[in-house]
Amino acid sequence: MPQAASLVADAASRTLFARGNWTVSGLDGALRDVDRWREPGAWRLDTDAVSDLDTAGAWALHRVGQLAQGRGAQVDYAALPAHHAALLELVRSRLPATPLVPVRTPGLLEALGRGVVGKLTDVLHFLDFIGRLAAQGALLLRRLRVTRLVQEVDAAGVRALPILGLLAFLMGVVLTYQAGEPLKSFGANILVVNLIGVTMLREMGPLLAAIIVAGRTGSAYTAEIGTMRITEELDALRSIGITPMEMLVLPKLLGLLIALPLLTLYASVLGIFGGMVVADGLYSVGYADFLHRLPGTFVPSTFWVGLIKAPVFALIIATVACHRGFQVSQSAESIGRQTTASVVQSIFMVIVADAVFSVVFQLLGL
C-alpha cells in the first residue's frame, strides 16, 4: 500500500514538505492539509519525499501556491526536482484561465413557470403534429407503403394475440366470478350471461385491447422513432426524399386502425369465453345454455358501440406515440422519459375518451 499524500508545514525552516503518493487516488488527505494550512509569509515547497506524482498531484501542488496567494503568503517552487517542475509546468499551461462557473439551480417560482410553459408548449406541439399529420397524411396516402403497413399490422396485431387473449380470458373469469356470487344468492345464476356479454362487448374488450396496445405497441413506436432521431436516421430519410410521415407515422397509424378493432373483437370473444368457463364450472350455466342465451342479452348497438371506440383509441395511441417519438432530444434519458410519457398519456387519453363515449352514448340512448 503506497503512503497517502500529505503536506506538512515546518515553521522553523519555512518549508512545506509534501510527502507520499501525490496521485489522483490518494489526494483527498493532502487537499485537506492544503486547506487547513493558513500561515502567512514566504515558504519553500519541498517535494523530495513525494514518491509518485501525476497530473492531479501536480494540480494540487499548483493549488497550494494559489491558496497561499489568496492569503497573502508566497510559495517558492524553485526547489522542485526537474520532472516535478515539468509536470507542474504542463498542468499550469493547460489549466483553463476562467474560473469554474457555479451551477445555477432554478428557484421554486422559476421551476413552476418553466414547468407550466413546458406543458403548454407540449400541447401546442401536439396540435401542430396532428395538423401536419392530417394535412400531409391525406396527400401521402397515394404513396402509402403497403409492405410497411402489413409489417405494422403484424407487429401490433398478430403478435399481440397471445398476451391479449390470455389477459382477456382471465378478465372474463374474474368478472364472472365476482358477479356470480351475489347473483347466485338470488338464484339468478343465468344472469351472468347478460352481465359478461354486455361488459365485455361494451367496455372491457375495447379498453383492455387499447391498454395492452398502448403499453406494448405505443411504447415501441416512441422508442423506435426517438432512437432514429438520435442516430440521425430521420434526417437520412428526409435526405432520400422520404418524409418520416409517410415512412413511419402513416403506416403505423393505419396499421393500428386496422389492428385495434380486430383485437377489440378478439378480446371481447376471449373474455366472454372466460366467463363461459366459470359459469359452467361454478354457477351450473352450461356452455349450450350460455351460447343460446347470449344473443338475446344485448341489442346489436351494444356490439357496434364497443367496436366503434376501437378506431378512436387507435388514433389516440398512434398519434401520441409518434408525437412523443419526435419529441426525443439528443439523450438516452430522453428516450426513456418520452416513452413513459407516451404510455401514460395514451392510456390517460383512452380512458378519458371512453368516459366521453359513455356520456355521448347515454345522450343518444344507445
Binding site: V24, V91, L95, V101, A332
Partner: protein, 253 residues
Amino acid sequence: MSGAPVIEAESLSTLAGERVLHRDLNLAVQSGEVLAVVGGSGSGKSVLLRTLSLLQVPAAGRLTVLGQDAARLSAAALRALRGRIGILFQQGALFTGLSVLDNVCLPLAEYTGLSLQNRRELAMLRLGLAGLPADAAGKFPAELSGGMIKRAALARALALDPELLFLDEPSAGLDPVTAAGLDELLKDLRELLGLTVVMVTHDLDSIARVSDRVAFLGRGGLLAVAPVAELAASQEPEIRAYFAASPRDFGEP
C-alpha cells in the same frame, strides 16, 4: 517502472459473432510505449482494442494487462484495474444525460474521495489538457461538435491519470491543429508520467509523430510490429499497399 510489458497477449484469438477475427496473435506492449494499431477496414482493430482493454473476453489465449492475468481477475481486482485504464471510444460515448464536466467528474467520484469542488476543478484541468475551452464544461454532448466530443471523451479517459490509455481513432474528425496538439499532449504525458498508449488510427501523420511501434493487422492476425520507418519499407504486399496509398517520407529504418 518495471521491465515487464504492460500488455502481454499470447496466442490470443478473438471472435466477432461467429467469425474468427484474429488467431494466435502474440503482442507485447512495453511500459511507456506508444503503439499504433493499423490495418484495413474490417481487420479487427477495434475488436483487438476492446479485447486488450478488457471489455471483451478473448476466445482463446492468455492476456496479461498491467501485470494481472485477465482471465483470473476477481470483480474487485477488475474494478481496481479499470481505474488504471483510460479508454477513448470511437464515437466518444459521452453520457448524453450529463454535462461535459459531469462526464469527466464521474470516474473521479467513483475512484477517489475528493470533494465535489475539488473533483470539478480537477475535471476542468482534464478539459484543459484535452484542449477544450472552459465554456464547454457546462454543455451537454448534444451541443458539441464532433471534434469537441472527441476532446471531451479524451478528458474523461484522462480523468484518473491512467497508466494505460486506449484510443480508438483519436484524431478522426479533428482539425489538423487540434490533432497535432493531441499528439503533443500524448508525448508530454508519456515523457512525464510514463503513460502507455495503444491507439487505433488511420492518421499517418500522427503515427509518424508519436508512435514508437506500429502493429499491422491483416489476414486474421498480426502481420508485423515494427517502428513506422521499418514498416514503410516492408516488402509484405498488404503493408506496401497500405503505405503506397499515401506515400510520405518516414525516414530511414
